[in-house]
Amino acid sequence: MTDTVKEQLSACLDSQLRQDELDLLLKRVAKDRELRRTLGRYALTGEALRGSGAVRASTGFADRVSAAVAAEDGSPQRSVRIAPSVMRWLRPAAGFAVAAGVATVAVLSLQPSAPESNIIAQAPPAASASASNDSYIVPANTVSNFVPATRLTNYVVAHSEYSSPLGLRTVLSGVLSEEDEAAAAAESAEDVSQDAFPDDASRNAAGKSGAQVRQP
């Protein structure tokens, strides 16, 4: 395969080829198995490069080629591509507000009794004594005036090991859930029974310091 063809392949996946060039290339691809494989690899590389960036814009041709490569008998990878329209309606919801954080839930469970300190170093002696150096056991006295809502979230984390209605409930629920969700949980946002917690201030303070724990 010539470098020109490789360049064309690369260009076509980036939607930089003219229509007549595309058509020509498509014809070649249709005939040449090796070319199809290469195209598949290119597509994946491109995907990987673009992966962490913005939602990929629809490039009609690249999609068609990918689909063709995918459908090609014996090709190493198959592709299921979903219409970009989905992205559009998801986008406003996704936005940048999805700054996933270590949920307060998770941080609270690691937070030592003294604020703004190193997590490991400050682990309660009882826990660290029985643990190897790189282990930790959930510190018992994390927040001295911890409140029921916090304990509730800890229950949810403990429960999540067993439950995964939609997968993410496992560790994700404890670790990668969004900060605001954790805050909401800590505040028991939907207090169905209308229980009132008088010590809102202390709970919020605990939640905030938890969310802001940083390693030096």
Binding site: L26, L44, E47, R64, A68, A70, A71, P76, Q77, S79, V80, I82, V86, L90, A93, A94, F96, A97, V98, A100, S109, I119, I120, A126, A127, A129, D134, S135, Y136, V138, A140, T142, P148, R151, L152, N154, Y155, A158, H159, E161, Y162, S163, S164, P165, L166, G167, L168, R169, V171, S173, L176, E178, S188, D191, V192, S193, D195, D199, R214, Q215
Partner: protein, 344 residues
């Protein structure tokens, strides 16, 4: 499952689909999906949507000799990753220079993103109605079959699954209540099936060197006399006790009894611990994320049922918690890590 496609390049673009000898029924669709999730290597991008929030992640799902391992990469710029395999879950949090390691319980099989979706069994069918909704519909640009796993009573949630006609992968999965309202969902924006995925692709982008490594032991705390003594009567239909253990839970000075109940699909945990006199007691129903929790005070103990189930279920289960007759007094060990304490 995947038929040979002999169509020409251009015909392929017109969605040449495998020919099915007979239309598979809902049960067969579920079985196809379970098989696909257990056997297919794939990578792709998905949105996890709950309420108004949505998070986009990349997934790499690898099956090697029947063992599923997965890598999830957050696409929010934090660089966070989760690597899961049969024995542990490792969370890399580069933005916090922290790595969390959690051991998996051997009894959980949810080692993958979609591992918690319903798989067909006769007992599932006694509690849930499994049906196809309509014919082939175009969803997310692909031809899909909608399968509805609908609870037969008010004690559990249902699932609506949009299964790709060709691969049976669930391109869209919704957890919904009896009224059909969506509680949370996972939507794939892209899926690439792969013949194989290299082990190296499951490696995180960061080594974690120099990070703080936190290992959470889920080893049950063995405290004599604490694994028996409590039970739940009048469980909602289909729920059975699947696990009983005593464990340390953050924020509590004493080990907590943890009973797990499952109907084969939905799971409810019951936590029982002696009332902490300094803590405010919890009462009644609360919502935490997609879960409901119901707490009550019983015999000097705080009892809480938690689960991603309807409120009626946690309430019923919490209400059924009983202290067994002739139970030994609870062992109040000083710390969760303390060695076994034998009550007199």
């Amino acid at each position: 499952m995947l038929r040979r496609a002999t169509s020409s390049l251009f015909l392929c673009c017109l969605l040449a689909l495998p020919a099915h000898a007979a239309e598979p029924d809902a049960k067969q669709w579920l079985e196809r999906m379970t098989r696909a999730l257990a056997e297919q290597n794939y990578e792709g991008f998905f949105f996890h949507v709950r309420g108004a929030r949505s998070e986009r992640m990349r997934i790499i799902h690898r099956v090697d000799r029947g063992q599923v391992s997965e890598r999830l990469v957050s696409l929010d710029g934090s660089g966070r990753e989760i690597i899961r395999n049969a024995s542990e879950v490792i969370c890399y949090l580069p933005d916090r220079r922290t790595v969390l390691v959690e051991k998996r319980s051997e009894r959980t099989d949810a080692t993958s993103l979609l591992g918690g979706l319903p798989s067909y069994s006769e007992s599932l069918e006694t509690l849930y109605d499994i049906s196809k909704i309509g014919g082939v519909v175009k969803t997310l640009g692909r031809k899909t079959q909608v399968v509805w796993v609908q609870p037969r009573d008010q004690y559990r949630y249902g699932y609506r699954l949009w299964l790709d006609q060709e691969t049976a992968l669930p391109l869209k999965s919704q957890l919904c209540d009896r009224q059909g309202r969506v509680i949370e969902q996972i939507l794939f924006s892209e899926v690439n099936l792969r013949e194989r995925i290299a082990a190296a692709d499951l490696k995180p982008a960061v080594s974690g060197e120099g990070y703080t490594w936190l290992r959470q032991t889920t080893q049950p705390v063995v405290v004599a006399g604490m694994t028996v003594g409590w039970s739940v009567i009048r469980l909602p239909a289909g729920f059975k006790l699947t696990e009983r253990r005593v464990q340390a839970i953050a924020g509590s000075n004493t080990p907590v009894r943890h009973l797990v109940f499952s109907d084969g699909l939905a799971t409810v945990s019951v936590f029982i611990e002696p009332r902490d006199t300094q803590a405010e007691p919890m009462h009644g129903l609360k919502r935490v994320g997609a879960a409901f929790a119901y707490s009550r005070d019983l015999d000097g103990h705080q009892v809480t049922a938690v689960g991603e189930v309807p409120a009626a279920t946690v309430e019923a289960i919490a209400a059924g918690v009983m202290r067994d007759e002739g139970d030994e007094p609870p062992a109040d060990s000083a710390t969760p890590a303390a060695p076994a304490v034998s009550p007199p």
